[in-house]
Every structure is written in structure tokens, then in C-alpha cells.
């Protein structure tokens, strides 16, 4: 469960104070499917970074699965991030010199999991995303949709509770985008919390809860069908 209480994230740019997040309060239950929309600069990516523990709020409290996170140090944050959170990026962020298999293995390498177990889990997660025959390809030998599916496999391999996707279909054509969304939604069906930041109304419409942001604030927060969350 994600609980944000009065979370603000302010940047000092020159002599100007940018309020990327301003007193945001959201609670997201485990297993929810949430889309976050808003114009550029509305703070949706910052919100995702704060939830993903990549960025620290300047003020407010963030409780993840019952644990207050704002007092954790960098190493503790890294540990929580490794085990609870998976990231999907618009530009995939695969390591170009590693094969698909090695890319998926990477989080487990960082977590010092034994090679035999790594191999097993990597193969399983690649199989679940129909990528078994792509394991030995490098990213530049894969299509966009395949790359994003490799990235999903990598995000999933540590079995996180929350999946954060920042414009996951932004660099994909319609068909590949649909495949990627289907893969993400399949994971959500199995219980993972899915947050998708997007510009695309069509993508957002697929989620069961819609958060709209503007100028660092949550403007609307509705369940599918128009009921307030």
C-alpha cells in the first residue's frame, strides 16, 4: 500500500522555486491499476520518482507497505527499491552491451542472488513474456516492443509489489504498445500494483483509477465510471 501524506517536492532553479509536487495526498491500495495524467511539467514524473524512492520529498510523509520511507538513508532506499519496486521507462533503458537475458538478470546480480537461481528465474520471467527465444539478443537486435517487454521482465524478476511505468508506450507503435499494455495488465491481474504515467487518453482509459495533475497538485482522482477515489 502506498500512502502519500502532504508530500511536496520543490526545486530551486536559479532564483525561482519550482513546486514539482505541492501537498500531494494519495493512497493507493495493493493491486490497484492507476493512470496518472497531466500536461508536461505537471509533476507526474516527479510523483512517480517519489513513489519509486528515486527522489525524496522535500516535505510530507511517504509510507510504503506500512513503512515510513522519508527517514531511510540511501542504502536502505536502494534495498527497498530493489525488492518492492519495478520501473518501466519510455526509452526502455536496457544496457546496450548486455543480452536480453543479462539485462533481466541484472537486478538479481545486484542483489547477489546465486547464479543457478538467477538463471531459473530469468528463464521463467522471459517465458512468461514470450521472450524465451530472444534471450541471447542484444537490445539493438530487438524491436521496440520486444525491448519494452525485456524491460518489463527485468522489472518483474525481483517480484516487486509495485510496478511504475513512465510513458511505457511512448516510443512504440500502436500494436507494440498494445502488447506491452497487455503484458502490464496481466501482471496487475495477478495482484501487482500498477501505476502508469501517460499522455495518451486511450492508455489512461484502460486503468481503473485516473489521477490528473496540474502544477504539482492532484486535480482529479476518480475510479472508472466517475466515482471519486
Amino acid at each position: 500500500m502506498i500512502e502519500l501524506r502532504g508530500v511536496s517536492r520543490h526545486f530551486q532553479v536559479g532564483d525561482q522555486l519550482v513546486r514539482a509536487l505541492d501537498e500531494v495526498a494519495i493512497t493507493i491500495e495493493g493491486g490497484e491499476y492507476v493512470s496518472i495524467m497531466g500536461p508536461s511539467g505537471s509533476g507526474k514524473s516527479t510523483l512517480l520518482n517519489v513513489i519509486g524512492l528515486l527522489d525524496r520529498p522535500t516535505a510530507g510523509q511517504y509510507v510504503l507497505d506500512g513503512r515510513e520511507t522519508t527517514s531511510l538513508n540511501d542504502d536502505e532506499l536502494a534495498h527497498v527499491r530493489a525488492r518492492k519496486i519495478g520501473f518501466i521507462f519510455q526509452s526502455f533503458h536496457l544496457v546496450p552491451r548486455l543480452t536480453a537475458f543479462e539485462n533481466v538478470e541484472l537486478p538479481m546480480v545486484l542483489a547477489a542472488i546465486a547464479p543457478a537461481e538467477r538463471r531459473e528465474r530469468t528463464q521463467a520471467v522471459l517465458a512468461s513474456l514470450n521472450l524465451t527465444d530472444r534471450g541471447h539478443h542484444r537490445p539493438d537486435q530487438l524491436s521496440g516492443g520486444q525491448r519494452q517487454r525485456v524491460a518489463i521482465a527485468r522489472a518483474m524478476v525481483m517480484q516487486p509489489t509495485v510496478l511504475l511505468a513512465d510513458e511505457p508506450t511512448g516510443n512504440l507503435d500502436h500494436v507494440s504498445g498494445a502488447e506491452v499494455l497487455a503484458a502490464l495488465e496481466a501482471l496487475n491481474v495477478r495482484g501487482i500494483t500498477l501505476l502508469v504515467v501517460t499522455h495518451d487518453e486511450e492508455v489512461a482509459a484502460r486503468s481503473r483509477r485516473h489521477i490528473r495533475m496540474r502544477d504539482g497538485r492532484v486535480v482529479t482522482d476518480e475510479r472508472a465510471g466517475g466515482a471519486p477515489a
Binding site: 536502494a78 533503458h93 552491451r97 543479462e102 537486478p107 542483489a111 547477489a112 525481483m158
Partner: protein, 403 residues
Amino acid sequence: MRVGDLLHLATESLVRARLRSVMMLIATAIGVAAVVVLTSLGEGARRYVTGEFQALGTDLLIVLPGRSETTGVQPGLFAGETPRDLTLGDAQALLRIPAVERIAPLVVGSAPVSAGELSREVPVVGTNAEFLVVRNLSMGQGHFLPPGELDRDMAVCVIGSKVRSELFAHRPAVGASVRIGDRRFRVIGVLSDSGRAVGFDLQELVIIPVSSAQQLFNTESLFRILIQARDAEAMPRVRESVRAIIAERHQGEEDVTVITQDAVLATFNRIFTALTLTLAGIASISLAVAGILIMNVMLVAVTQRTAEVGLLKALGARGSQITALFLAEAVLLSAAGALAGLLFGYAANWVIGRVYPALPVGAPLWAVVLAVVIAVASGVVFGLMPARRAARLDPVVALAGRR
């Protein structure tokens, strides 16, 4: 992160960035090779000189007039005395010492030597038959000075090969006569080219009996007395006996210096070790330069891989893991460079050994160890800064690819 995985990831990125890696490898390799080759040359020179001395025999004592030590005030100074000369009588007296095998007195000077129309100023050494053995000389033609009493004046001489070729060209030298100063000498032998001795160019030497040299240079005193002991163990005893006998003959004044070959050797050893250290120091500069290059290239690598650092952080990498990754790359590179440098250095040594067989080139172990340690340490030191810079990157900024 496991060590194996760390090395695997580091190797993978080094192999991918091939040009960059090869450049850094070469830089380190040059530094290590420079240390290996330069110290080998210094060490080779030291071994060469040591070998030369040992060829002369470690059982050699050299007696020279005057004292080299200046401990305390010598009474002689107040009396205005100068050190007494060494004489042929002294040399003969030293033969009484039981452990003495051979004695060669030495008078050294320079005189014009002429044969027919040709004339030349050459160093002239007056000595006796024992000099041949004591100095390990060998004859090219004819004979060396005949054995006999030290004070027997004979008008015979032995000439160096260069003197021979300059004065006689292709005419036979043995049996011919030469004029040395104002006296005539018969040439009875020519030294071979291969003879070696430290301090003299044997090829340019003329050797005559010691008493002839004393007359020629109008002196009673000897330049040196060379003593060959029966064996190396007898050296200290011989040395003491020499001091005692000379003191007895010089009215109780111990006014000679006795040098052993060992002492001379030790001095040369010190000089050449200092030389080798200097060379090692100079070569180490190139290692430092290589280290700075490593830092530079690693900084560029960190900049190029900013997004990757951001990703690693998003995947849950701690700062220390990112430091370790980049550091492992720098250290692997410098270690590989050190290895390549060793190979290259030893190959160069081999070539030098082929070109100059007389020079016993061989890198001293300490220099090899030092070079490798410095190379790897520079990888750590110069790799640390870029690695820590990578670890400190803000993941949000890094992921966005901005800096």
C-alpha cells in the same frame, strides 16, 4: 554483488568499449615496460661491472701510498711529513707473507713511443711477469715479460693491439724494436684484443719491466702494488700482514691504504644501484601519466554511461556497488596493462640481450613488483574519483540523461 559478477560486468563493459580500453591498456603497459626495461639496463650495467671485477678475482688486494682515512690528527702532519713512497723493497718484503700468491708492483706513466717514423704518446705501465696472471690478461702474439728479480732492468716491452696496429700496421711487431722516451726496447709480445681490465684500455698500453719504468720516469716510488692472495679466506690475514710489514718498514707509520676488490665492488654496487633507482623513478613518471589518463578516460566513461548509472540505481544498486563497478573496470584495465607491460618489457629485454650479449640484462624483482603494484594502485587511485562521481549521481537526473 558477487565478486565474479562484478568482474564479469566490468570485463563486459571494457570489451564493449574496445578502443578506449586498448588505449588505457597501452598507456599502462608502456609505463610498466619502461620500468622493466630501464631497471634491467641499470641492473645489467651493475652486473656487467660486478662480473668484470669478479673476473679479476676477488682475492686481489691493492696497496697504494697514503692513507685515505682521516680519523684523528696524524702526528706526521705536525712534523710536516708527507707519506713515504712505496718502493720495490716494500713489494719484495710483502712476498714474505705466507698467504700471498703473487705480487705485481705497478709504475704508471705516459711516454712517447715510436717505431721508425711513427710516434705516439701512450700510457706506459711498469710491472713484472705476475701482472699477466693477476690482471687476467692474455697474449695475442709472443710472450709477456719474463719472470725474474724485480730490480732487473731489461729493455723489452709488451704492447697493446692498438699500439701495434698504429705503429707497425701490417709489419711484424714481435722482435722489432721501439723507442720509449729516450730508450730502445725490443717488442716481445702483443696483448690480445679480448683481454679486459677495469681502468685501463689494454689495447692502448705499453708494458715494460718495473725497474725500466722507474728509470724511464726517474722515480723510485710505485703507483700501486697488486697482491693476489692464495684464496679469498686468506684476505683479512694478508691485509693485516701487509699493514704490519709496511708499518715496520716505514718506521711505524701505517701510511698505505689497502683496498680489497670487495670494497671496490661494493662501491660500484652502490653507484649502480643508485643509477637503477633513478631509472626506476624516471620510468615511474610514465606510470603516473598512465594513471592520469585512466582517470580522464574513466571520467568520460562515467559521463557516457550516466543513464546506465541511473538505471542501476533504479534497479536497487547502492552507491558502493556503482563505485565498485567503475573501480573494477579501472583496476582490471591497469592490471591487464601491467601484464601486457611485463610481457612487452621482457620481450624488449630479450631483444637487448640478443643485440648486446655482453650486457646481462634482467629486471630486478623489486622493480617488477614495484611496477605492477604502482600500476594497479594507480588504477585504484585514479579510478576512485570517477567511480565515486558516478555513485553520487542523482538517479532522477541520470535517468533523464541530463547532467
